[in-house]
Amino acid sequence: MIIHLGHYLALSCVLFSIGAAGFLFRRNVLISLMSIELMMNAVNLTFIAANRWQPLVTSADGTATAAIPHHGHLFTFFVIAVAAAEAAVGLAIVLAFYRLRKTVRTDAADMLRG
């Protein structure tokens, strides 16, 4: 069996869906954070795989190169860095929440409603 871009896209769709489902159905903030990380990683996988399968263009001297060389790789590094920054801010908020409420369950966040 030949593995091609479609397989990677299917896998990242599955990963993304697991992440989204985890985010929507679990009530623990830490699990929610992990789910978001999983969604981000599905994005990274898509970028890496898509970068590998870029359509090749043939230039005048006959050498084939990828149309846009490394934008997918570049994007992945940014996503990793931003995900780390996001986790830092998120964990700080969770910590502050835990200090005040002694729980990390999202259903405890019920003071603001209406």
């Binding site: 898509t46 399968w53 359509p55 934008h71 996503v79 931003v82 603001l112 209406g114």
Partner: protein, 521 residues
């Protein structure tokens, strides 16, 4: 040097934010940073205006393309964002000091968030879209939870953070899918690849294979479009993706609420308009019956109606204003969804920009006037807190009433013309039903805005209840005066501002003289 020039608004705020951090680290006492931060924002606004006046250096703009699109639309939004940020930091100077949480880190965060917002509004590539969005959002999450000892503030930050990052992940997955099928991350490149300019091969087998690939590509691109649309709808707080909005607005410190409601909204709408028009601007995706305008029409109707119905039942003025900001997002969406229409597109885009500018000054003003009514330990948040307020304190009460009238849309305030232009663009585009729904909603919204006025002018506080009295903060009064001046100026000479907005959306090559622009009534 030219690229430094075209990046001046972003760089001012980013470098200024670092300087603010140093100032904060080396100063003895907390809370002297509001004025420098406001000045920084005004310098960024001035830089954007100077670029507009002197003409954008083409060489510099080419250097940062396609990552950032330096055009007049972006500069207009950069100016709006900077003015909104400046007013919000002035408000913070008064509000945070009054409530004894004037810690220095508030101001650098604000400056960085504004830099991200401008990057988002000027983005020309999905990478800068994502980076701008996250730079802005991470700052605002921290500003929302700034009152660390308050469970409400932290809860607001938690909800905002969770839903915000979920939305960002959705947007990102949409972007990744677009990259997978087009090989481009920049808006123009994606758009060109999506339109399949290449001829189909003549060979039958190759042709069938190519058609199959294109069919799959089209399906994926529709899925990606929906993901991006949902991600951005979360950021502007459109129903049904609005769940975080009232909670985050209510729990956050009032200065942050003001910032969130204007800067985040202006930047997100700017990016929304650009990505929808450039990437999905082809006839199929932008068709009024089957494309994104049709989806946005439903979202806009839901946003206006649900937001209004929820606002009617609120007892807290701050939370009512949160729902009101949802309703206003609905009006702006109306302008947005008419932008791809032939003939009315320019006016529709201009009406969106005008609305964002008018809404920015009005909403900072209304939150400033509300913050003025609260003292340490006794914030005025509910309708009952404000009973008799305007009779006891006529000037402060009138300030709040004035901005509420602008939100209602009563001339000669800017709120009237903002709504007028959007509804006119909707009517011109032939969406009569949508325009009628918008006007009905606008009438309903008068009930809760004027409800505050009734409380302030005609009701007495319950015996023994706390009576709101204004704090004497210079910063807040100054914020109110500047916002009120702008609201009045935009309301009295709306055609001038509309012409500016029209100039902003007219491509530089085809820039028509301002005299061509349709005159305002």
């Amino acid at each position: 040097m030219n690229f430094l020039l075209v990046l001046a608004p972003i760089l001012t705020l980013a470098v200024g934010g670092i300087v603010l951090m140093m100032l904060d680290a080396f100063q003895k006492e907390d809370g002297q940073l509001a004025m420098p931060t406001a000045l920084l924002h005004f310098v960024a606004a001035a830089a954007a205006l100077a670029l507009w006046q002197r003409g954008i250096p083409a060489e510099g703009a080419a250097l940062v393309a396609p990552w950032l699109t330096i055009d007049r639309t972006g500069l207009f939004l950069a100016a709006v964002i900077s003015v909104g940020g400046a007013l919000a930091s002035l408000l913070a100077g008064g509000y945070l000091a009054e409530h004894k949480m004037d810690r220095g880190e508030y101001y650098p965060l604000l400056a960085f968030a504004s830099a991200g917002a401008i990057m988002l509004a000027q983005s020309g590539d999905t990478l800068t879209l994502f980076l701008g969005l996250e730079t802005m959002s991470l700052g605002v999450y921290a500003l929302t939870g700034f009152r660390r000892s308050s469970a409400r503030s932290i809860e607001a930050a938690l909800k905002y953070f969770l839903l915000g990052s979920f939305a960002a992940a959705m947007l990102l997955f949409g972007v990744a899918l677009l990259y997978a099928i087009t090989g481009h991350t920049d808006y123009v490149g994606i758009a060109q690849s999506l339109r399949h300019s290449a001829e189909l091969p003549n060979d039958l087998v190759a042709r069938a294979a190519e058609e199959q690939v294109r069919l799959v590509g089209t399906r994926i691109s529709i899925f990606a479009m929906v993901l991006i649309l949902v991600g951005l709808a979360f950021k502007i707080g459109a129903v049904p993706f609005h769940m975080w909005t009232p909670d985050a607005y209510e729990g956050a410190p009032t200065s942050t609420t003001a910032y969130m409601s204007v800067v985040v909204k202006a930047a997100a709408f700017g990016a929304f308009m650009r990505i929808m028009l450039v990437v999905f601007g082809d006839a199929g995706s932008a068709s009024g019956t089957a494309g994104w305008p049709a989806i946005l029409a439903w979202i806009a109707v839901l946003t206006m109606t649900v937001g209004n119905l929820m606002a009617l039942t609120q007892t807290s003025v701050k939370r009512m204003l949160a729902y009101s900001s949802i309703v206003h997002a609905g009006y702006i969406l109306l302008g947005l969804l008419t932008t791809p229409r032939e003939g009315v597109g320019t006016m529709a885009q201009a009406s969106v920009l005008f609305y964002l500018a008018g809404y920015t000054v009005t909403n900072v003003g209304v939150f400033a006037a509300l913050a003025l009514a609260g003292r340490r330990g006794a914030e005025a948040v509910s309708f009952d807190d404000l009973a008799g307020y305007a009779r006891r304190h006529p000037a402060a009460g009138f300030a709040l009433a004035f901005f509420l009238l602008s939100l209602t849309g009563i001339p000669p305030t800017v709120g009237f013309f903002a709504k007028f232009y959007v509804v006119r663009a909707t009517l011109d585009a032939g969406y009569t039903t949508l325009a009628i729904i918008a006007m009905l909603n606008s009438a309903v919204s008068a009930y809760y805005y004027l409800g505050v006025l009734v409380k302030m002018y005609m009701r007495d506080p319950a015996p023994g209840a706390a009576q709101a009295s204004p704090n004497k903060s210079f910063y807040i009064v100054f914020t109110i005066l500047v916002s009120a001046a702008l609201v009045l100026h935009m309301g009295i000479t709306p055609s001038r501002w509309l012409n500016l907005a029209i100039e902003a959306v007219t491509p530089a090559a085809a820039a028509a003289p301002a005299a061509d622009a349709p005159a305002a009534p």
